[in-house]
Symmetry: C2
Subunit: 386 residues, 2 copies
């Protein structure tokens, strides 16, 4: 393995941004290229084609998108294109991000109804079924992994339930903290829209809104009667652009982020160099190791239900008597950056570890040996003995 | 001067993206950092403070913003925050981009009225004055430099006219192809909103929406009665985030593009190392040289009126008998990338040269000696003799 070209720096082991490979960072530094040059058109086209592979998509009625922005912008694409004012959306709530998605839906005139799981748990399927039978929901949103709690939702079973009970309802997956680490079979599971961000398990610096929309979702958007809800987040503007770039034709609506797209291609090539199943299994193995070690320290996870815990992050309650502003700086002194809490009900009571991408499954890395030791030593310094 | 670390590559001399400095590209490859780490918070805060300097702003009631996205997204911020449905906007049209801005305003329910200049010219001040007296416009939009025509608008005089005739009207400047190359005195000229993109005269890869809003504009937004028009492009969401980062406090709405912000800071430091007046003068000198040389080749500019021609780009009509698909590849063979036309009425009849940033005013660069020679030789190969 070549020596890293990255300057010595603290290891960023939060649930995104994650550590990046040298190749990805080098691609971020690609010298200037015209956004309509054959060189860049080819890079963008290849990236869009590989995004299909990442989503396990072969059905060409679907389309992948990569647009300058952030994961958040994916919500705007859903709420301003797929819902018309007054239409109902069922929002499954497993943490912070469902509240925000609901807020976004409301902004564009949709009517969100939240089904809230108890903190650290998922919404029972029977509740989802009852809600879907109570009235027609144009779409359902599921946070695949809620980054505030580490709760993993079972999108396969939920999607199957939707198809059985309310087949016209669009299945929308917020995959910001899941795409690239959790199993997602877009075609096979009959999903309609999966949105994500690059700085998590895709392993690319923040700066993109990445998503894939099914043929069914695109048909719903094309049949839209209301005027578009957004200009920049308009599927009407971007769909032909993505289709053209994927067909290796230059096209212009708004200048794409050339360097970020180069980095996306570099990372997708690395990710897809091994079967996705192997990637998922490797992440699962590391996740189990981290969760077992944390448990051996006597610490409890925020995500309470076995089988519904994310494989790319772990949210961990602090032991009694240890405060976040004491612990995290002690861990940081050991050159390990972890994240504080985000869920408003418990924000000061837990911390979060991100274990996605090269830190978790890269060859010859010992990031989590260092991190788990740093946590143990820092807890001891805080007076908590294991 | 150190040897460039950039691999040999064709010179991108289009009206954005422009060539980037080594330091900017190295900043794009910054190893991962948490978006709420003290290191990154400091970088983001410094970048926001330097953006004020770039806009010649000292009045702290204004606020600068840098958000993952594109120049285009700046239109959404204007149209979805500063206009309420049914309110009037006066759009000065000097090319392609006014049509798009008007389209964006219409999307969010505002009512755009376009004042169209003849192709290659500006709207006479008397026409603007008559329009402003005919009814109340909540805002006026001016494309400072229209990238499709190279027409430069006199925003100083237009702003002064607005303050005289309709003082409550917000003055909105689309500075995508002007910020960093044309004189803009935000406070002194009493402007309300200047939006731009990084990949032009700011010299940073595409991927950001950059703008500054006056205290007056922020008051108008705070007094808004209609619900917000956009979620991602919401001033309500982003204003506290930018205020916090500038005060060196971590804050979260949506993960910022860490590497792009590092690159922004690197470039702003380089830009502001000399007085802005000197930067503008150096661009003017290079622009004159290019325009004179083009004229000496017998070629005409799209921008017809002296004093209203951009200093960071030149749009040039092809001579009779020379076709764009013949000329541009011949220039490209000489490792110079120029741009084709964009204005729909004349798209196939002209080409565009970008002369912003390090290619135009960098020490020890001969980019335009090469480019002007490449144009001359390629024209000759196309059968046009000078």
């Amino acid at each position: 393995m070549p020596v890293s070209t990255q300057a010595a720096h603290p290891l960023t082991l939060i649930p995104g941004p994650v550590e990046f490979t040298d190749e990805v960072l080098q691609a971020m530094a690609t010298p200037s290229q015209s956004h309509v040059s054959p060189q860049f058109v080819s890079v963008f086209g290849d990236a869009l084609a590989l995004l299909r592979e990442l989503f396990m998509n072969k059905d060409k009625s679907a389309q992948a998108f990569a647009i300058a922005g952030a994961g958040t912008l994916g919500w705007d694409f859903v709420a301003s294109n797929l819902l018309e004012p007054g239409e109902n959306a069922l929002v499954l709530h497993t943490g912070y991000f469902a509240d925000s998605f609901a807020d976004c839906i409301d902004t564009y005139g949709g009517v969100p109804t939240q089904l809230k799981a108890p903190l650290g748990d998922v919404v029972p399927l029977e509740q989802v079924e009852a809600a879907l039978k109570s009235k027609f929901y144009k779409l359902i949103t599921i946070t695949h992994v809620d980054t505030s709690t580490g709760v993993l939702s079972d999108i396969k079973s939920i999607a199957a339930l939707v198809r059985k009970v309310s087949p016209e309802t669009l299945v929308i997956v917020d995959g910001v903290c899941s795409v690239g680490v959790e199993e997602i079979r877009f075609d096979e599971w009959d999903l309609d829209f999966v949105l994500t961000a690059p700085q998590k398990a895709i392993g690319v610096p923040a700066g993109l809104s990445i998503f894939i929309a099914s043929g069914r979702a695109l048909d719903v958007f094309k049949a839209r009667k209301a005027k578009p809800g957004s200009y920049y987040a308009s599927l009407a503007k971007w769909l032909p652009i993505m289709q053209n770039y994927e067909a290796k034709k230059a096209s212009y609506f708004s200048t794409p982020p050339v360097q970020n797209i180069h980095a996306l291609l570099a990372s997708l090539k690395q990710i897809l160099a091994i079967p996705l199943e192997d990637r998922f299994a490797a992440h699962e193995k590391m996740s189990e190791h981290i969760k077992e070690t944390i448990a051996s320290y006597g610490l409890k996870q925020v995500a309470v239900r076995e089988g519904y815990q994310a494989h790319g992050m772990t949210a961990v309650y602090l032991p009694d008597g240890v405060a976040l502003p004491d612990l995290l700086p002690k861990i940081a002194k050991r050159n390990i950056v972890l994240a504080g809490g985000l869920h408003k009900d418990i924000a000061t009571k837990y911390f979060r570890i991100g274990h996605m991408g090269v830190s978790a499954i890269g060859d010859d890395r010992n990031d989590f040996t260092l991190a788990l030791t740093a946590i143990k030593e820092s807890l001891a310094e805080c007076g908590y003995s294991i």
